[in-house]
Symmetry: C2
Subunit: 344 residues, 2 copies
């Protein structure tokens, strides 16, 4: 006898902007691997479809997965033509697409277009669906900046006043405000998360001031010398790629009640120093590898890095069970496991 | 013998958006009356020209002043056609034009157009001048809202985290962020000030939840009964029209150093209660006038009013010499002096 009172939950549709980027690709792989999602605390459903929106194509493993489709183009252009892949069956949008901080500082209009206008257009498109999709917005710890007259407190909390000192930080903070009001008006179910500097990023240096925080591990592991441009005892707040992805998925899964206020939630960070990172590298890969780090402080880079918050009390994240990496050794081991090609 | 090393400072051009509104008209009159302005701490110059931009025409006294010109129309339309009256000789812009909170809550798109898009367009137009004009932005205490999970502290400071609970508040807070970054990039010299509820406003009730804070004085002074819809001991933060205008002018006159950080500055407020306001009315105008107040608490209005911050530590404003009204009696006397037509 068939129980007709029981409806089979429909598989969900996940859309990821910036879906071919470093985090977008990892997020898609993680969602495909777990196969199920419990959206906003509701019953778990199959991940039926993932749409990756990006200017570039994602890697072959994603292109070849039957559950993955791609939309290629500029996000603003796609949104203004209604072709970004959003539809009434889209249950959750991860908005990761952004111009990075250096680009936004060099080209103000680029940042306003890529980070600000695109975010507003995306939220308006979600609102137009009238289905109140979950939107997870990747904000950034860059909303915090040490400003003359408004110094940062020694420990950053979820309730600390952001005083962004870069166009990128301002644009992310404005995005958080739009997310909050679109949520309050019940146009979307918004989840703004502030991401940390991610380490260890695979690939090549990207010219960001934070690039060395991956490079000083990644290059020595590949047998190449690398430079640490800040004093060895400079405190820094980091998150592994895996914990960052867990934070994004956790935000989509949290019930409205567990999530709490509409303000942004800070993802957890491990506070460490380059000296501790080098010691971890020596322990995991041997002292000869750690010896490939050149210690050559560069005042220009140090002046930027020292304005970044390094100590975080990610109270709300902890309440959702999202915890920082347990040690930098563990972060290095994860990198080695996942990037065997890049290890000498 | 002529001292050729001494240049005669040129008269300044002031542009006021919302220039035909309650505050815009008062601001224009105050600037014309004082005749001079010391912009951003520089040498005092004559107020040569005031351009009032508004959908409506200003009163005759302003229209008839040779120093005043008007631009009539919708601010967004004027800005997109380049016809808002801004030019390379514009030294200071007071941006007062806005849709009010009730309108923005009822019509989300109206608020996004009038408060958000217009502010961004105005700032882009100022940036395009390449002359770094001073821009004084009228933000609002409405950026603060008592939110579940993020309760307001008992006393609001310049550094308190805003968690707006209305679209109006969000739009004003986003305006503050744009002002900060346009200033940091040296596109403008930005001065964001958070205005208080203004009392006593002349004219008619305007349907805002705060309307009674003027009406309970204004109507009895005209011999008409009025209602106070909140308990007599409800704390409220108010500013007279004169102190509000002094705050706007003070913001334009403050040097960059005196002004301090690029975050918004809270204008000073007098914390009082309806009971104290009624007692002041009795003292200034007699007990028979104060007896025209009906005390009829309305839970709906009280529920709104009690989420407003009532105790403000306007530290930065005090540093600029901007102080709250000394007493509510003084506020009533000012109203009577300036509105003899409206007194019975």
């Amino acid at each position: 006898m068939i129980d007709t009172t029981k409806t089979i939950p429909e598989p969900c549709h996940v859309l990821i902007t910036g879906g071919a980027g470093f985090l977008g690709v990892r997020l898609a792989r993680a969602l495909l691997a777990q196969g199920k999602l419990s959206l906003a605390g509701a019953e778990s459903v199959d991940v039926g479809r993932i749409t990756l929106v990006d200017r570039a194509a994602p890697p072959a493993d994603l292109l070849n997965d039957a559950r993955v489709s791609t939309v290629t183009g500029d996000l603003n252009a796609l949104l203004s033509s209604g072709g970004a892949g959003l539809d009434a069956h889209t249950d959750v949008v991860f908005h990761l697409a952004a111009a990075v901080s250096g680009e936004c500082e060099a080209d103000f209009d680029l940042g306003m277009r890529s980070n600000f206008a695109a975010t507003l257009s995306l939220l308006q498109a979600c609102r137009a669906l009238k289905t109140q999709p979950i939107v997870v917005f990747a904000s950034s710890l860059a909303v915090f900046g040490d400003a003359p007259g408004v110094p940062l407190p020694p420990v950053i909390e979820d309730t600390t006043l952001p005083t962004p000192q870069s166009s990128y930080g301002i644009q992310k903070f404005i995005g958080e405000q739009l997310m909050a009001d679109f949520s309050r008006k019940a146009f979307i179910q918004g989840r703004s998360v502030r991401l940390m500097t991610v380490s260890v990023r695979p690939g090549k240096p990207n010219g960001a001031a934070s690039s060395f925080l991956s490079g000083m591990l990644r290059e020595p592991l590949a047998g190449v010398r690398a430079t640490c441009p800040v004093p060895a005892d400079t405190p820094v707040a980091l998150s592994s790629p895996a914990r960052t992805i867990a934070g994004l998925i956790g935000a989509a899964q949290a019930s409205a009640q567990a999530w709490g206020p509409r303000t942004a939630l800070i993802l957890p960070a491990l506070t460490t120093t380059p000296a501790q990172m080098a010691a971890a590298l020596a322990q995991v890969a041997g002292p000869a590898v750690a010896a490939l780090i050149d210690w050559a402080p560069d005042a220009a880079i140090h002046n930027i890095v020292k304005t970044w918050p390094a100590r975080i009390n990610a109270r709300r994240a902890a309440g959702l069970g999202l915890l920082p990496d347990s040690s930098f050794e563990e972060i290095i081991r994860e990198y080695i496991r996942e990037n065997t090609d890049a290890i000498k």
